[in-house]
């Protein structure tokens, strides 16, 4: 168990090297072991102060697990550890070609219900975006391991766009399926 949960970073918490590649089984194992120590259920008879501490620690462990499990969140966190904040909104400079592609995706999604087989189209789009985003992940990992901070940051910003689009597709598919079922 790490010395102090609240001052450990997410990698230290699960005794992992700070890297894009993580062993998710190990994350899960450490997650379970830590939960057994700090979860509020273990402190029902404790003082209010201990209860509060248990809640803070468990919240931190939960956030750590969620962050390391999600590739984009993990990548963003890696840069955060290097003191780089991704989400500065006043930075809008971005690869124009990429932005055009994104706009096209958005437009197609807006009109997807008019297509012949919208569910099928959505599945196709989702597959394409996922495979493109997997490639971007690899590019990010390479840039990050090589210490190219600006480049890795650029990849994450693109990945965030991709992620949003994939999420939107999932929501749309769910809505459409419900309509068909309903």
């Amino acid at each position: 168990m790490p010395k102090d949960i609240l001052s450990s970073n997410f990698f230290e918490l699960f005794e992992l090297p700070v890297s894009y590649d993580v062993d998710l089984n190990k994350v899960q194992q450490h997650y379970m072991a830590l939960q057994k120590e700090v979860h509020p259920d273990k402190y029902t008879g404790a003082t209010d102060q201990e209860k509060r501490l248990s809640m803070q620690q468990t919240s931190w462990i939960n956030e750590a697990q969620a962050t390391l499990k999600d590739p984009v969140a993990r990548a963003t966190y890696l840069l955060k550890l290097k003191g780089v904040d991704i989400n500065l909104e006043n930075e809008t400079t971005m690869d124009a070609g990429f932005l055009m592609q994104q706009l096209e995706v958005r437009e197609r999604l807006e009109n997807i219900k008019q297509e012949n087989d919208p569910l099928d189209s959505l599945e196709q789009m989702s597959k394409e975006l996922k495979s493109a985003s997997d490639d971007m992940m690899k590019s990010f990992a390479q840039a990050y391991e090589a210490g190219e901070i600006d480049e890795s940051r650029e990849w994450i910003r693109k990945l965030q766009f991709m992620h949003k689009a994939i999420k939107q597709i999932n929501t749309l598919s769910a809505d459409l399926e419900d309509e068909l079922m309903g």
Partner: protein, 638 residues
């Protein structure tokens, strides 16, 4: 209190006192209470031997009836007989929809946002009605087990939102029950089932009760129950089955005067009986004979299935979404556990089996499985099983967010995030010179404020005027292990803060609860005296027991004859006083005995620590030391 501390490290002092903790399934149709006794978990019956308590409350002229007695009034006095009240927990007046009009009782016109039901004993809220049910179960437990309750785990549908959870906790407070934890019903069922079979892997719990539907996907691994995703519908259940069958009967029979609540409740009862009978028979005859109309007809299983299929399909949609959220393929589901009385309906079992491609498990009584799981968790939380490896990791069912410009919702915590959780997000001002900001807290999946549930509003005021976009307002959402939310906001440049325990929108205010509690206490002062007396007597027994066991182990080595005599004297006084009924005298006698033992206790502790450290390396104690260090750090922070 000093006496309890004289244990050998690593050993318990005296026989650990078993704390009476129960699990309560507060259901739409029926409620149950269960507890663990000498390692066995049982639901507790009432004096007539029946385990299920119908969740029905009747407000009579002079008294309130709960359960079967109340149910007997549902046809003769429908206006004052409240059924399915769980549907209205945490709901606002605006939520009472046309669908709810088939309940015979009527809602009072009030300016309050909390709907109140008209009864002859005045208007009552859903929280108060639920508290009556809880009080009844509490009494049942205390009577059966002969001891006072130290706490209860109360189950709620996993899909309950924050307002509904708060309302449930309020009801418990009103019934004077200490809530150890609000536990999601499917999780409770998984505990009962998982511990029963020792299964590992991913399972689905399909829970269709009287008024709510829940689906949960869980991973079981070495005593840890990890909820991966949960979904459902908090206003869909067996009551809706009864409703569509009732509508069908009305249509077939051509009844027109169904405004009479007694008549419509009679038809509803026929509908329910027909549904239940069709679980065993292919067709049933229905025979309605009343002043308002008569009808003879029959309903067969095919027709029933046709009526119910659209409702069951709705539940399967939620299942699909939960699987997607959990990122689990249907093939990965090892078992499907069926919970809730409505899963007895055959079409439900058939469609669930087809959807999950496996035969659903129905081995545990679907009515009792939730209370059973809750009792197991209550036993752990009460500290009766200090070495228990069981642990439940749950998630929040619906996303939480705040309103931003344009009536849109910005999500701060997404649904199916593991709890407890704390998340912060920064927002800024919209206009130059803005010095206040309204925080509107919402729950739900939709993008528009108007499609989500409003949980609370509060304002952050008095931060210094700055140009638009310069202020930095950090909004923090914290959800505890019960799934309840606290929101705070801080303007970071100035440090101005505001926070709110999310609750007042649809619950009772703290003041209302206090008043109600005070009223009930004033009427029950005698009860109070009996209770405090009993508490002091238990405390006296505990102190004597601890002392006896200490003296037996090292009294002859650590005490002089004179000291032994002093202690025995004080002990004798306590033994004599505790059989009387003077609470203060008993308390005094305990104190006297503690004073007499002071030196002895200190001597024992020193000896024990020395003995404990011999033959042990310091590392063995390191974890505890670091824990203490952490506790100390936290104190400094405050």
């Amino acid at each position: 209190m000093a006496l309890i501390q004289i244990a050998e490290p690593g050993q318990s002092t005296t026989a650990h006192q078993h704390r009476l903790a129960v699990g309560i399934d507060l259901g739409t149709t029926n409620s149950l209470v269960a507890t663990v006794r000498s390692g066995e978990v049982d639901t507790l019956p009432d004096v007539d031997g029946s385990h299920l308590l119908p969740s029905v409350v009747h407000y009579g002229k002079d008294e309130v009836h709960v359960g079967l007695t109340a149910q007997q009034y549902s046809v003769s006095d429908p206006w004052n007989t409240i059924v399915s009240v769980k549907r209205f927990m945490g709901r606002g007046a605006d939520d009472i929809s046309a669908k709810d009009e088939h309940y015979s009782y009527s809602f009072a016109e009030t300016d309050s946002s909390v709907p109140r039901i008209k009864t002859r004993s005045g208007d009552v809220s859903a929280v108060e009605v639920s508290a009556e049910i809880l009080k009844n179960l509490k009494q049942r437990a205390v009577k059966t087990l002969g001891d006072d309750l130290s706490g209860a785990v109360i189950t709620v549908p996993a899909y309950f939102d924050d307002a509904q959870r708060q309302a449930t906790k309020d009801a418990a407070r009103l019934a004077e029950i200490n809530v150890l934890r609000l536990l999601n019903e499917p999780t409770a069922a998984a505990v009962a089932y998982g511990l029963d079979t020792g299964n590992e892997g991913v399972i689905a719990v399909y829970d269709l009760g009287g008024g709510t539907f829940d689906i949960s996907i869980l991973r079981l691994n070495k005593g840890v129950f990890e909820v991966l995703a949960t979904g459902g519908n908090s206003s869909l259940g067996g009551d809706d089955f009864d409703f569509v069958i009732t509508q069908w009967i009305i249509e077939q029979a051509g009844f027109s005067n169904i405004d009479d609540p007694a008549f419509s409740r009679l038809i509803m009862q026929h509908a329910r009986s027909a549904k239940e009978a069709l679980a065993e028979h292919d067709a049933v005859s229905i025979n309605i004979d009343a002043e308002n109309g008569s009808w003879q007809g029959s309903l067969d299983r095919d027709k029933l299935n046709e009526l119910l299929t659209p409702l069951v399909k709705k539940t399967l949609m939620s299942c699909r979404r939960a699987l997607r959220d959990a990122d689990i393929d249907i093939e990965e589901i090892r078992e499907v556990v069926m919970v809730g009385g409505s899963t007895r309906t055959l079409i439900v079992r058939e469609m669930v089996a087809e959807f999950f491609q496996c035969e659903p498990l129905t081995s545990i009584d679907p009515d009792k499985v939730v209370a059973t799981g809750a009792a197991l968790q209550a036993d752990v939380l009460a500290g009766n099983k200090p070495d228990d490896e069981m642990l439940l990791l749950d998630v929040i069912p619906l996303s939480l967010g705040i309103e931003t410009m344009g009536g849109l919702v910005e999500k701060i915590i997404h649904r199916n995030t593991a709890i407890p959780v704390a998340k912060a997000q920064e927002f800024t001002t919209y206009k130059d010179g803005q010095t206040a900001m309204a925080v509107h807290v919402l729950q739900g999946e939709r993008e528009l404020v108007s499609d989500c549930r409003s949980l609370a509003r509060f304002e952050l005021r008095g931060f210094p005027p700055q140009v638009a976009g310069a202020a930095r307002i950090r909004v923090t959402f914290q959800v505890d292990a019960d799934g309840l939310l606290i929101v705070s906001a801080q303007e970071e440049n100035s440090g101005i803060e505001a926070s709110v325990d999310v609750k007042p929108s649809y619950g009772l205010s703290d003041n209302e609860i206090e008043t109600m509690l005070r009223d009930s206490i004033e009427h029950a002062e005698d009860d109070m005296h009996t209770r405090t007396l009993r508490e002091q007597q238990v405390e006296a027994d505990r102190v004597i027991e601890a002392l006896d066991s200490a003296i037996a182990s090292d009294g002859d080595q650590l005490l002089s004859e004179d000291e032994t005599e002093q202690i025995n004297k004080a002990r004798q006084v306590l033994v004599e006083t505790k059989s009387g009924s003077d609470v203060d005298a008993i308390e005094q006698a305990i104190k006297q005995l503690e004073v007499a033992c002071e030196a002895y206790v200190a001597r024992r502790m020193n000896t024990n620590i020395k003995t404990a450290m011999q033959g042990h390396s310091i590392e063995e104690y390191a974890p505890e030391q670091s824990l203490d260090a952490k506790a100390a750090e936290a104190k400094v922070e405050e």
